[in-house]
């Protein structure tokens, strides 16, 4: 997981279908994910990790996640 904070992905035209939140959870903690439309990311509040969503496809492989900076939460 990278710790960089300045590479928030740009929101894409293919939007994320929020119905998916009924099926998805954090791959590591298994807690529910929160959709952050501004950064196009799925956030696990428990671990403070964000997973990018690119062209509507959530990238939930653990190595694709990034740690959120402490203060932003």
């Amino acid at each position: 997981m990278s710790t960089s904070t300045d590479e928030s992905p740009v929101p894409q035209a293919d939007s994320f279908n929020e119905d998916l939140l009924g099926f998805l959870c954090c791959p590591i903690s298994k807690s529910l994910l929160r959709w952050d439309a501004a950064h196009s990311e799925l956030i696990c509040d428990q671990l403070k990790v964000a997973f990018p969503v690119v062209t509507g496809v959530p990238k939930l492989v653990p190595s694709d996640g990034r740690f959120l900076p402490e203060e932003s939460t």
Binding site: D19, L20, F23, I28, K30, L33, L47, L60, V61, P62
Partner: protein, 359 residues
């Protein structure tokens, strides 16, 4: 970094099941994100390099021709046969990659295509290809919703009790922690949900294994891990029970594919994303060794018509998420008749039906 990692693992340990915490530790140890892990003696040896597998599957997506692969197609057919034997419909299905494309194209025309389907694959290129071809083949996708998710089978991002069926087609043989992955799938299933999986196992590619080992032994004076290890059929039943499935069943199917040369076999393996991804593998194979292996292969296994056969053994696993009203064996000692009585009754019946002429 250290503080963050400690907090992360502590949270994971407290909040989720043991296997996930172990997985997390292992992931962090092997990704090199934190060397502290090894100081604390938490390192577990991974059998497969998942990052390499991911890039191999990306490459495979580029190598695959437009048509469906007949081999994975046959496996997908067999899996979906089992689905058809079951109850009328499964509104929410997750397809965990491996070979997602043949599963989806067949599922689209079956009676199970009603609700939502989730397609999970670790390789972004493979996911894009599947999406493109599914949309092309089924102009009106029969599901009300179809979702594509990049996910690792070892770390399934699926909510507890959210799915009616999980289908894993040819992905579990590349997973380091197979019982863990299967347990995560079980957790994602609703009670009485169905788990269907196929993986290569047992005697798969034993010809290539033998040829490579002999060539290496002769030319390099030793044998290295040219081929990834595979599960044996006898392990599969234990895996299902260990992962907590009820009514487990396992069966196998041997397919022999004939290639024009061993190199064609290797190209096919590459296009399926089934190249060696064992962590202990040697990065390259000397040309002389490969040529020796090729000639050994043809010499030992070649068919009369000049083709070279390769065995693929698919192991199919079926299990159900436990539910209270499920069929299950009666508890021990609850029988009201003894087998001895049954035997006597049967013996009497057979005597009564067909008395011997002499008696």
């Amino acid at each position: 970094m250290r503080g963050l990692w400690t907090a992360l693992t502590a949270t994971a340990r407290n909040s989720c099941q043991k296997e996930t915490a172990t997985n997390l530790l292992r992931r962090i140890c092997t990704s090199g994100a934190c060397q502290r892990a090894s100081d604390e003696g938490q390192v577990q040896q991974n059998i497969f390099d998942r990052a390499v597998k991911r890039s191999q599957r990306d490459r495979a997506a580029a190598l695959q021709a437009g048509d469906l692969d007949p081999l994975t197609d046959a496996v997908a057919d067999n899996i979906l046969d089992r689905l058809d034997d079951c109850r009328p419909s499964f509104p929410t299905i997750a397809v965990v990659g491996g070979a997602t494309l043949p599963i989806l194209t067949k599922l689209a025309t079956s009676r199970h295509a009603t609700g939502s389907v989730l397609v999970l694959d670790e390789s972004p290129a493979m996911l894009r290809r599947t999406k493109l071809l599914v949309e092309k083949q089924a102009s009106n996708v029969p599901w009300s919703q179809i979702h594509y998710i990049e996910a690792d089978a070892e770390f399934l991002p699926l909510q507890e009790k959210s799915l009616d069926a999980v289908i894993s087609c040819l992905s579990l043989h590349w997973v380091n922690d197979v019982p863990g992955a299967m347990a995560q799938m079980r957790r994602a299933l609703k009670p009485d949900g169905l788990f269907l999986a196929a993986m290569w196992g047992g005697d798969t590619l034993h010809e290539l294994r033998v040829a490579l080992a002999l060539a290496e032994q002769t030319l390099e004076g030793g044998v290295s891990q040219r081929m990834s290890p595979l599960a044996q059929v006898r392990d599969a039943g234990n895996l299902l029970t260990r992962a907590g499935y009820s009514i487990p069943s396992v069966d196998t199917d041997d397919v022999t594919v004939h290639y024009s040369s061993p190199m064609h076999l290797v190209r096919h393996l590459r296009a399926m994303g089934e190249s060696n991804a064992a962590t202990g593998r040697q990065p390259r194979l000397k040309q002389a060794t490969w040529q020796a292996a090729e000639s050994k292969y043809v010499e030992m296994f070649g068919a009369e018509d000049g083709s070279v056969p390769a065995t693929f053994q698919a192991i199919y696993m079926t299990g159900w998420a436990p539910a209270p009203k499920q069929a299950r064996p009666a508890p021990r000692g609850s029988a009201t008749l003894s087998f001895e009585d049954l035997e006597k009754t049967l013996a009497n019946e057979s005597k009564g039906e067909a008395p011997k002429p002499s008696g």
